[in-house]
Symmetry: C2
Subunit: 345 residues, 2 copies
DNA sequence: ATGAAAGCGCTAACAT
DNA sequence: ATGTTAGCGCTTTCAT
């Protein structure tokens, strides 16, 4: 009569251990271990008694202790991105989670918030918890602090940006090529004066995109002008005057390449009030880009692809892969939607 | 001369332990422990020798072992949301992370993907890792499986939706009130035929929002019509005909309340091609809502507030709070932007 | 100031 | 089929 007691004995506060279960079932601790881990060599009757005791006590195996004893993997990976709330990194994070789940791994996740000390603290704390591996969007200018962890056997994969002072598997978008194709697209529409609004040039992605922009201009035999380029933090206070400068004067730019999402959005807000809008291509896709007027042409990265690939590299290392550090670049592809197809008046 | 050797002895593969450090430094293991944990009672000279050995061996304390021995907290919390990549939940996640960080806790994060077995597996796995507490967006219809964990002392906080079969602290948006205010806003613009497109009525949030919508109509002395309401999965294939039905006929709706973000977006895509657009209020804010034409009026939730509040409740329990389970409802506020202020023609 | 021994909860390696 | 012992890496307790 399993339903006899309306409420199963309110389990005592605190966690019970295998010892408690063993005592309650009148068996040795190893028998409990066998039942819990579904090993063979336990009579049906004994197993039933043990299971009953487990139920009554609300026992749950302590995986921390188990892993310590087994000494191998902890079944967890650490992921450090800039910001868990950013849609781009959130998509990357989700892909890593999915890959980890398929390998039976849990995910420690953290945001570096673009602060190198936070990245470092998170990474080292994860290592102290003995994560099986680390996936990292490097923020600081030096990841050398991870060298000891790496030589101790913790595989590290960098994603979105390469590390400095550390040789590790790395997964990037092909930023230069993407920016180049975006710029070439504008050139094909007849634009000759194209501005580039980018993030801080210290960021690898920003520098690469600038490089791609310049390569496209050079490829078309054009010499860009210094005041068509504005690099720096994506603050409205900085972007507004930069934009005004590009659009003012006798020879304003007729098209813009925006170096990332935040810049694109800020620029769109500024542009909303203007009578004649320049053509615009944004780096990074974003939701509802197709619903704006005009719909926004973008160079789309594949955040989920970045995350998935990074996780695949990591688990390959955990599976014993020994080759030299890999560097994989994922294509960024142009999605024409309208804003990038506006002609040069 | 600390910079003498160009490269510090390449640390041996595998992790070294306190025992290794003790042997290398020629001291007892307890002395190493003292140095690592910055306890007093170690001569400067001894400490220096130990630190040297730590450096050379690339030693890092194993927090798993430490926590096992200490037996108290593991300094980690588990968070289970529907989808780490969803901007709403991503913002919630980030807020939880921030709160955890301030208390020295790490974050295990996972997506239930709206699959009850996944929610359950994640939750129980987190508990097996002995997270100090659990924050959960319930997906299944029964969270009773968590009762043993709860009585074993693991505090559980539900967020966004209440649990079933489990009494726990809960943080929600005031969905009914939000939907009511959104509807009343449309009524004030003169609308009398207002449609509601909601998610599956099994979802607590969807049901509450429907309730708020009906309350507003009733409050205005109106009897809504059954075919002005369409509840179900937010698939375009389902929404399109539902929308067509509401907008067709002799007495079409002149305004729409959309039950969540995905529905709003899908509806906006459908509406884009229409000559006469109904007024629209969406539940949930989203980026760029202000840049659409017309800008979209929404009832905005506070995902970060939900996450922060949930974390606060959790840490209060961990700090010893003993009172009955709390239920906190956070206001959802109307943000008029244009689409909800279109008059009833 | 320093260290030896016991034990956290569990499993591996042997008993019986 | 079942139990006993040792030990994972660390901290706690108690000697020295």
């Amino acid at each position: 009569m399993p339903e006899a007691q309306t409420r199963p004995e309110p389990a005592p506060a605190g966690r019970s251990t295998m010892k408690d279960v063993a005592a309650a079932a009148g068996v040795g601790i190893k028998t409990v271990s066998r039942v819990v881990n579904e090993e063979s060599g336990v009579t049906a009757g004994t197993a039933a008694r043990v299971r009953q005791a487990i139920e009554t006590l609300g026992y749950r195996r302590h995986d921390g202790a188990r892993l310590l004893r087994q000494g191998l993997r902890t079944g967890s990976v650490g992921l450090i991105i800039e910001d868990l709330a950013d849609p781009f990194y959130a998509a990357l994070c989700r892909a890593v989670e999915e890959a980890a789940r398929h390998r039976g791994s849990l995910l420690f996740a953290g945001s570096s918030a673009q602060q190198p000390p936070r990245e470092r603290e998170l990474a080292l704390t994860f290592c102290a918890r003995r994560v099986d591996g680390l996936i990292l969007v490097p923020t600081g200018t030096d990841q050398g602090y991870l060298l000891p962890e790496q030589s101790a056997g913790t595989p590290i994969v960098c994603v979105d940006r390469p590390a400095t002072g550390l040789v590790a598997d790395t997964v990037l978008s092909d930023n230069a090529r993407g920016a180049r194709e975006g710029t070439e697209h504008l050139l094909r529409q007849g634009h000759r004066r194209i501005g580039f609004l980018g993030d801080c040039p210290e960021l690898h992605t920003a520098a690469e995109r600038l490089r791609g922009y310049r390569a496209a201009l050079a490829g078309a035999g054009l010499r860009g002008r210094a005041d068509w380029v504005a690099m720096g933090a994506p603050e409205p206070a900085r972007l507004r005057p930069a934009l005004e400068r590009m659009l003012a004067g006798r020879r304003p730019v007729t098209a813009l390449l925006c170096g990332n999402n935040r810049i694109t959005v800020t620029v769109l807000r500024e542009l909303a009030s203007l009578p004649h809008r320049p053509a615009l291509v944004g780096f990074d896709d974003f939701e509802l880009a197709d619903l704006l007027a005009p719909p926004v042409t973008v160079i789309a990265q594949d955040p989920a692809g970045l995350g998935r690939t990074a996780a695949e590299l990591l688990f390959a290392r955990l599976a014993g892969e020994r080759g030299p550090a890999q560097r994989i670049e994922l294509p960024a592809r142009l999605i024409p939607r309208g804003s990038g197809e506006l002609p040069a008046r």
